[in-house]
Symmetry: C2
């Protein structure tokens, strides 16, 4: 309630500085979002509220993480509702800059994270993580939070951002929070709004196929190719699902494993019509 909306870097910097001066020793949390807030985002806001004296939510649909043929223009936006639900979940400040406020016309600097960006969504969406790492570095610079909150649904993004914050000494801790799901298991995502009724009905197959994989590994499966066979077997039950990728990678460097061992991330992207959904499951053996 009573969330303050600011649209300039200077204003959000001033708000954070004023808070820090008024409450020495208390912490500042940042929840970076592209808006259209759903329960997944709001769980991050609530977590930030529990842990910090000041909670900043950024809402910025970052053009540099979309390729030319992607869904930048139709990405859902609903600022009025976002402010209401962010405030109710505990946000103090919403930072909602324009593109020209975020990126100077002469902008020339990009943050590249090697290795962690090579597989999974990095190969399906070239340049995507360069845009993500750059805008998150900027948000960390502007807000200078103690901790930033990301969702496990975007597992690769979280690991890249954490590596980036450490490598560039930005001084921001990255906390990864559990994926929030619809009752039928579909991971919450702003892109779920694109699904037709029938696509929406079939979309939970992605989660089911990942749970099948986790069960197979629990029962001793160690061969990533057979893991993929399990995954594809379940996915075939949906006439509309088209596989983009399914990979079994080490959580340390996100490189594909030869054999399932230690802590692995099984991550997948699946198209339903024109909508690409992602989800993942972490397994330790």
């Amino acid at each position: 309630m009573g969330v303050v909306v600011v649209e300039t870097k200077d204003a959000v910097r001033a708000a954070v500085r004023a808070y820090r001066d008024s409450a020495p020793g208390r912490e500042v949390g940042l929840v970076p979002t592209m808006g259209c807030l759903h329960e997944g985002h709001l769980s991050l806001v609530r977590r930030a509220r529990e842990r910090n004296g000041l909670v900043v939510v950024s809402i910025f649909v970052n053009p540099t993480q979309f390729a030319a043929d992607e869904d930048l223009d139709r990405y859902p936006r609903d600022l009025e509702r976002d402010l209401e639900v962010a405030g109710a979940a505990g946000a103090d400040v919403v930072f909602h800059p324009s593109t020209s406020e975020m990126y100077a016309q002469a902008h020339a600097t990009w943050v590249e994270v090697e290795r962690l960006t090579e597989h999974l969504c990095g190969s399906s969406r070239p340049g995507h993580f360069r845009g993500v790492a750059t805008v998150v570095a900027k948000l960390f610079g502007i807000v200078a939070p103690d901790t930033a909150y990301f969702g496990q649904k975007d597992a690769q993004q979280s690991l890249i951002v954490r590596r980036m914050s450490e490598d560039l000494d930005l001084g921001v801790k990255v906390e990864v929070c559990p994926t929030v799901r619809e009752p039928d298991g579909l991971a919450m995502s702003s892109r779920n709004a694109y699904l037709s009724v029938e696509e929406r009905r079939q979309a939970p197959i992605l989660r089911k196929a990942l749970l099948d994989v986790a069960a197979a590994i629990d029962q001793g499966e160690r061969d990533p190719r057979r893991v993929e066979t399990v995954f594809r077997g379940r996915l075939a039950e949906s006439a509309l699902a088209r596989l983009d990728y399914m990979e079994v990678v080490a959580t340390s460097d996100l490189a594909p494993v030869e054999r399932v061992a230690g802590e692995v991330l099984v991550a997948a992207a699946v198209w339903f019509g024109g909508t690409r959904l992602i989800d993942n499951v972490m397994v330790s053996v």
Copy 2:
């Protein structure tokens, strides 16, 4: 005098934080160096001393800005003397980290600045400015100064760092200070120590050739090719000088100009034996 030497990121962060808590509103200045401090560096320290409550000098020979065939191993080092002269010039804290303190084994993140890095030293030393931008971003993150001080001798570096700080919203002002010269005009540089007696005798030709260029432009020369002819004509007087590059670029984007107009940077790199020296002159028409 009484300069404090710290070797870890945590220690320098703690020193800056303690200063800021003790002196609210006073500013912090950073002079990033690779050590072997000469009068050029010390002029930056003195400038920082005039303008800030706390002056931090970093001394770190950054391996990621050297190519495999460059002079990383023989780059001159003299910490004891550096501490003495930095303290005398007004440094409060010298940050002198090891390579493993600066770069985690899993380091994977690089800061790339487009366009500004394409010409001049950027084409002669591929990857050099990626290393510079990355380590300076890290130093800005660690020290969080209000202002950082760089020398005009490294004009391209200063412009790249300023662009980077603005683009990544690091909140650090970049102040560029005049080149300090030996009595015969040679720009101060740690690499001057590599020169043989005869190379050292001939090295001021670089400055002389740049002054010839400035005079020719003053007298109406507007064609960059004829500017280069003037430069080469003077350089030919030195038997040991071998031209790496001489370019006339716009200060806005460091792209070569078709005609001299507005504010241009005439920058050159010249080899004397195994030593590569750089210098430049800014001209407004």
